[in-house]
Subunit: 139 residues, 3 copies
């Protein structure tokens, strides 16, 4: 069994934003030399998500609006967590909807994706450096 | 390490609907010959979900109503994504709540499930052929 | 390839509550002897979740309030599922938001976590014994 590990570092300007990290994960798969296996991609921070969906900017704005409706940032004082001096309670909730991680099959040395599948990082508490873990195991 | 891959194809009549795909995934596990490992089951389309819950039709209707409340289909013009000519923005959001994938442990050649666990495919933009990936690795 | 399996049993007093199960999962990783691999941790019951987030009690209360807002327990008669004699339809929905499982990378014999990542069990239908599966594969 081969195993591979890499961290992807990124910083989103502004509180929230999406980054397509498919190319970086593809590089990891290539570098790993693994032909058949499973690839875990997870946010290492707890106020951001890794998920798979469509690379369409209108949809990304819809997602952002929708999550803000489900777990609004304001009023900041409406969350107990923010009494600790934080202002990011909403970010923890938004991340819960979108998820921490995705697991992708590796087949013939490539991510085994449907036509429209792309991997995104969703930042909910930006303006600071964050990291994503890529761990691949297989043969 | 053994690896196994299969696509399950399905078409749901109507916009939304649930399909219990546990029997098909069980067949995959048997066919793979893998006794100990991990089994990834993921939607290959981005407007549907794979998830584990109870096989109870009342609950399935509750889930459908609840998701329609969280991310309504109408008004179609309320979503930026639908300006691209699509009418399925809500389907992308519903799928985000329910998730793309599940990972199931394989133990003694079987899915290692609690009493009530069953695997479902949830279609949010039906009337077309969609596919689900089953990837198993192990010994 | 080495594989390891263990069930963690727990009973939450009251309908809902969070338990930090990181120490128990750490014990599993140590006991497995696996240095590089993937660790699946999933609820074996369908009215509870396993997820990764911050160990901060104010946030946990925020999560509980927020989930109760998204899928209220009352009125019990508002859910079709509860016509079967159950009163836990809301628990199935809350669990859908928070997820069934997490997959954690194992690196150098440890869970490969960011600074604040901790594994939680979220009970949505307590006062009874429930179980969580830990399955690890790797070398």
């Amino acid at each position: 069994m081969i195993n591979y590990r890499k961290e992807i570092w990124l910083e989103v300007a502004g509180r929230r934003g999406l980054v397509n990290i498919t190319p970086q994960v593809m590089d990891c798969v290539r570098e790993s030399g693994i032909k058949e296996g499973l690839c875990l991609v997870n946010a290492m921070n707890i106020t951001s998500s890794v998920f798979i969906n469509d690379d369409e900017s209108g949809l990304h704005q819809d997602m952002d609006d929708w999550l803000e409706g489900l777990a609004p940032h304001e009023p900041v004082s409406g969350y107990r967590h923010n009494r600790t001096g934080e202002d990011n309670a909403d970010a923890h909730l938004k991340r819960s909807v979108m998820g921490r991680e995705t697991v992708v099959a590796i087949t013939n040395g490539k991510m085994d994706f449907g036509t429209w599948e792309q991997i995104f990082y969703f930042e909910f508490d930006g303006n600071r450096r964050k990291h994503v873990l890529v761990k691949i195991i297989g043969d």
